[in-house]
């Protein structure tokens, strides 16, 4: 039952994001559009490029979707609404999401096309930039909770959410999460204006439908992780716990979706430089500040 509820929440949120994304592009609110678009993709020819690496080409969209769902499996919607409340849940998310890179490299290499291949390798560079900014803020979150269990991390925020306790960590994690989800302005692997879609470029039909669903699901998973780590998870007045988790997750996901439209795509070299010369020192500073707060404030 829990699995069904979490999956429904995940894919329902992905559908809502697709509706909002369509609204921002076309200016029309069309709730049925993502479903119709998905059905249309199913009906279209799934073209296979010439001389592909068939295993990589077929597996990449599915792997990306599986990775997004796996990440969500350890994120609690409510105290008793989590698929697997692992003892190392906070680390598990990081480990699961590392496979986003594998999926994108496969999606880049598989079709045997230049745009896709460049997009895939670009994401490798992107991972080198953002990965420490995922891990280090999570470290500070776990320090405060004195646990890697995600329900305990939410529990540690009952009185004060981490967005207030460690705002620097929140900002760093939020930016890194956008880079992990390769949303604009970090959409280097897909870069419409530079690579004509990059890793998406060679996919059509049902494979493209799965890839798009996976990308939206990944955004929802990362938004749910942000909620668990920084926005107090299910904590909130009046409404039931699951409702608060859902509202916060959707708010973060929508902000990730919309924020990028107001910024130009970042250069890969700049992303790398800023993450390593500014982001990592700030993440270390965040750990030091949180450590001091834990020692000083009871």
């Amino acid at each position: 039952m829990t699995v069904a509820i979490v999956l429904l929440t995940l894919f329902g949120s992905a559908w809502l994001l697709a509706v909002i994304e369509g609204w921002t592009v076309t200016g029309r609110l069309q709730p049925a559009a993502p479903l119709l678009s998905g059905l249309a993709h199913l009906g279209r020819e799934s073209i296979v490029p010439r001389s592909p690496d068939r295993v990589f080409f077929e597996a990449a969209p599915v792997l990306l979707l599986v990775v997004a769902v796996l990440g969500a499996a350890v994120l609690p919607l409510a105290p008793d609404l989590v698929i697997a409340d692992l003892g190392t849940g906070a680390l598990f998310i990081n480990a699961a999401l590392a496979y986003v890179l594998v999926a994108l490299i496969m999606a880049g290499w598989g079709p045997n096309g230049a745009y896709a291949m460049i997009g895939g390798w670009r994401f490798l560079g992107q991972l080198i930039a953002y990965s420490m900014l995922i891990v280090m803020p999570i470290t500070a979150v776990a320090m405060r909770a004195e646990s890697l269990v995600n329900t305990a991390i939410v529990g540690s925020q009952a009185d004060l959410w981490n967005i207030v306790y460690q705002p620097l960590g929140f900002v760093l994690f939020y930016i890194a999460a956008m880079a992990l989800a390769f949303r604009s302005p970090f959409d280097l692997p897909t870069a419409e204006g530079e690579l004509a879609g990059g890793v998406d470029a060679e996919y059509t039909g049902v494979r493209l439908a799965v890839l798009r669903l996976a990308r939206l699901t990944l955004v929802v998973t990362l938004a749910a992780a942000t909620t668990v780590f920084y926005l107090g998870g299910w904590h909130g007045p009046l409404l039931p716990p699951w409702a608060w988790s859902l509202i916060k997750t959707l708010a973060v996901a929508v902000s990730m979706l919309l924020a990028g439209g107001y910024l130009p795509r970042i250069r890969e070299a700049d992303l790398m430089r800023w993450c390593w010369t500014l982001g990592i020192p700030l993440a270390l500073l965040n750990i030091v500040i949180v450590g001091l707060l834990i020692l000083v404030v009871p």
């Binding site: 592009v25 460049i118 390798w121 530079e194 130009p264 795509r265 970042i266 250069r267 890969e268």
Partner: protein, 314 residues
Amino acid sequence: MIEVTKDLSRSADGLQMDWLEVPFGPVFPGLPGGLKLTFTLDGDGVTGGQATSLAGMTTEGEDFEEVDAGTFIDHLASAMPLAPVSYRLLACLAIEQAAGLNDDPATTQARNAALERERIASHLGWLAQVGRQLGFAWLTHRASTLQLQFRDANRNRFVELEPALRALGTRLGRTPLLKARLKGIGVLSTESSDLRGPVARAANEGGDAWARLWQRLAEISASFDLIKGAGEPELPSLRDIGGVSGTGEATVDTPRGEANLRLKLARGHVKSYKLDTACSHHIGLVEKLVEGRELGDALVAVGSLDLSPWEVIP
């Protein structure tokens, strides 16, 4: 590994890798339709590249079929869909000069207003293209909306649209990351003799893509002021020239730079012509601009030239 790569070209970083020849265009999201770039890629670094137009005029100006002056004007305007008013004006001026007609101040004022209106619309279209290239959705939407509004606007509408135009410039100045994306990209020095129009004027201000952005914004502002001081914009149309013969030459500062037209008129018909455009010169700069750049930067550099494939004369 050594056997696989031993005869391959060596990259700037010393590695030996496969180099790929990759086409961008003639239909590509970040480039104007009809422009084809062929880059040699070493990873996502560009080791060489060239640009060709697949949409430029193919008729040889010297031996084209003789047409009457009115048809020639329509022909030239429709052949340049990104700047039809400018080329219509160019043709009118060259034919009128060949016919020996003097300037009419009222007509000149109305024509100039139309030319400046097209300049504003064209630069806004370029901004929308930059937005598409950089994944900057807000800019694409805002600039293309304004472009459509300005394209056929009269003086009253111009006054209404002024705040929106000023706000666009202010907003671009405050956009984080935009300067980092454009500064130092596609640098062209004033020494190059091939620079025309806003590209040439921006060369005095740093000569990079960032300077070209601000040059075009400054030109939008200047054109706006000119229109406010001029009459109602009016599409250039040929004055009565009768069946005269002669040779004429005219130069118009189109949105992409100076275009020059020389033609021979025989009994009211254009017998031959020679056209020189800014884009014909700018397209040759691509090779130098992209060499050694990262792919994204190379495309930004090419985009900042605002090449119109239709205005490339073979």
